[in-house]
């Protein structure tokens, strides 16, 4: 079996050899670290959520080297990580993508002893448990694909080994977004997505691996299907799930499906859709236009996701050191604070606290009433004094995760059924 990358890039081996020769010749010369780092450029790509130009600017300021960012949708990110290993140095990907991409050998494991804040990383990413009493949710839980046995490990380890696949950076608990002004009654369950009351006004996302989980949450809440594991469905469960949703689609339940962040914002803001799968900053974006929008906590719990930074297998020498330096900086708080003020969570919350005001920390993390106006990092007003975050505190939200975004064993089958669903 050959990986796509090797089929497509027969020159890759040559490049590697050339790179090694180059590294050898530079290493023999005395290193002038301060000067050299200025010339280092790290190429990072990932989904739009954390590929922020502000981060690149701050990196240049704090660390001196250049960070080039490319934002793509989840499918394109997977595709690029799997097929174009020469096109990036740092992959900012989600854990379920990692499960898919790791076997290609395009990423290298990271030595946790070089990560200064490793011990402060939230339990979800290490033991899998938020608190010692928590149960682990279904799906591709981050810790289950977070570790390998050694630097060259190809299969995932089930406990902390000191070699991490991704350094966690960002995560959140997702639920349905609603327009309370257009619905006018409380929404409490995932079943509402298929409620005929919202015929032609509902939407889900057209990214199969995430969409299927939202579907599963709905079907389970309706009591139609009892899943053994929503994150790893059997063919039969997949068929049943799609049967329910195909029927709803044919009955005109959905207005549209969305694939990118902006599409979801526009659907909601324009009133085309009043209830749909949504991501937290999309809610923020709708709100900042002065349109009421709620990230509705539902009684069945959240569908959660986590992302992290992975290093390209091609990174070595000075670039690799720079990448470690970048990751340490990433966990040291500034980015965490930035992300948390958008409604995400940072993997090391306590460092982020230093970069947030007491009011912001209370609102976003502790679920307290805002004591003053809450603004986004770009300055838009998101909440007034006295308002509380949808879903409450960190523990309340992350403690009620029902499943993680996942890649299943029957993924190929599921994808084909997804195509049928879209074409139906």
């Amino acid at each position: 079996m050959t990986t796509i990358s090797k089929v497509r890039y027969s020159r890759r081996a040559m490049l590697k050899a050339g790179g090694a020769a180059l590294a050898a010749s530079t290493l023999s010369a005395p290193m002038v670290w301060g000067q050299e780092t200025k010339n280092i450029t790290l190429r990072q790509f990932g989904t739009g959520v954390s590929n922020l130009n502000d981060v690149a600017t701050k990196v240049k300021e704090d660390l001196g080297f250049t960070l080039e960012m490319t934002a793509l949708d989840s499918d394109s990110v997977t595709q690029r990580a799997a097929t174009q290993p020469d096109s990036f140095d740092i992959a900012d990907i989600e854990y379920w993508i990692c499960k898919k991409v790791w076997p290609t050998g395009n990423l290298q494991a990271m030595d946790t002893s070089k990560i200064a804040n490793y011990d402060k990383i939230v339990g979800i990413f290490r033991s899998g448990k938020l608190t010692p009493e928590s149960t682990i949710a279904q799906g591709t839980a981050p810790h289950s694909v977070g570790f390998v046995d050694g630097p060259g490990g190809t299969s995932f380890a089930d406990s902390e080994t000191g070699w991490m696949t991704l350094i966690p950076t960002i995560y959140n608990a997702d639920t349905l977004g609603i327009r309370p002004d257009l619905i006018g009654r409380p929404i409490e369950s995932w079943t509402e997505l298929l409620n005929p009351e919202f015929k032609g006004k509902a939407s889900i996302l057209d990214i199969s691996s995430i969409g299927i989980m939202d579907m599963a949450m709905v079907c389970e809440a309706m009591g139609e299907i009892q899943y053994g594991d929503k994150g790893n469905m059997t063919k039969e469960e997949i068929d049943k799930t799609f049967a329910i949703f195909t029927e709803a689609k044919k009955a005109g339940q959905f207005r549209a499906f969305w694939k990118t962040f902006d599409e979801s914002v526009n659907l909601m803001a324009s009133g085309e859709v009043v209830i749909q799968s949504m991501w937290s900053p999309a809610i923020t974006a709708v709100k900042s236009r002065g349109i009421p929008c709620v990230y509705q906590p539902l009684k069945e719990g959240y569908r959660s996701w986590g992302g992290g930074l992975g290093l390209s297998a091609n990174l070595s020498g000075m670039e690799l050191e720079a990448a470690y330096e970048y990751i340490n900086w990433y966990l040291s708080g500034w980015v965490g604070g930035y992300l948390m003020r958008q409604g995400y969570y940072s993997a090391v919350p306590e460092t982020s606290k230093n970069f947030m005001s007491e009011n912001e920390w209370g609102y976003w993390f502790e679920g307290k009433e805002a004591t003053d106006v809450i603004t986004s990092p770009t300055g838009d007003t998101l909440a007034q004094a006295g308002e509380v975050r949808d879903g409450g505190s960190f523990e309340e939200r992350m403690g009620r995760v029902a499943c993680w975004n996942a890649v299943m064993d029957e993924n190929q089958y599921m994808v084909r059924k997804w195509n049928e669903f879209i074409a139906a």
Binding site: T2, R416, A423
Partner: protein, 301 residues
Amino acid sequence: MPPRPPLSIFTKMKRQAVLQNRNVLGWLQASPLAVVLLGFLVAPIVMIVIVSFWGATEYSIYPAFQFDNYEFLFGSSVTYTVFFNTFKYALITWAMTLVLGFTVAYFLAFEVRSLKWQIGLFLVCTIPFWTSNIIRMISWIPFLGRNGLANSTLISWGVIDEPLEWLLFSDFSVILAFVHLYTLFMVVPIFNSMMRIDRSLLEAARDCGASGFQTLRNVIIPLCKPGIMIGTIFVTTLVMGDFITVRFMSGSQRANVGRLISNDISLLQYPSASATAVVLLCTVLIVIALLLRLVDIRKEL
């Protein structure tokens, strides 16, 4: 520069003989284009055909010679629906762009008298092409939406009470966008054919007592056939190969073959995408072959 010594007569003759050999000269003149086409058209297509027999796992493809991809493709009912949709879009778009394109070209060629105005108005037709076609397409979305301009205007005129849901994210909006995007591809070749029509033929038709409609049917349309055919080929191939218009204008709710391929690619199923692409390519080629049987473009031009 000192004059070069004259070549011996023998060498001169030999050189001329080689160059005058029509075959050699012809091959030489054709070779640059042939090389470009071989490298950038034939080779990729051959590659696609080869890969369509390969196998795929989650994240990789492996060389093989198996018919799995085709088997799945022809065995799935989705394929037939999706191909049907593709033809439906192509046919409706073709009919509408033909009527519109012919009318516009007719107006430009026969109603506008001065060449200056003809060129001027023709350029006006191309103005929308100064922006990207994605933008031209997406700008329909706020216009057609539930609370968009179209619906609010109709409501304020009292034509409708409830917003029309089918304006956006439907077959209607997909075809509207196609017609908007591709009518010019019909206008240009038809206009070109019309401008070549000898005006004295029209006078002759009138002198023989033909009505306006008879002139149109028996003189203008037959003489425009090559233009119509070229426009038809443009429009059908563009519509059949499209995926982004269908995705945006239907809100991802409809699918044509292009979307099937793009979904496969984004999920790293290259062999299956290649197989679909090969089938689509064959279909489009058959359509074009049929069209070319109707009109011999080479003779007409």
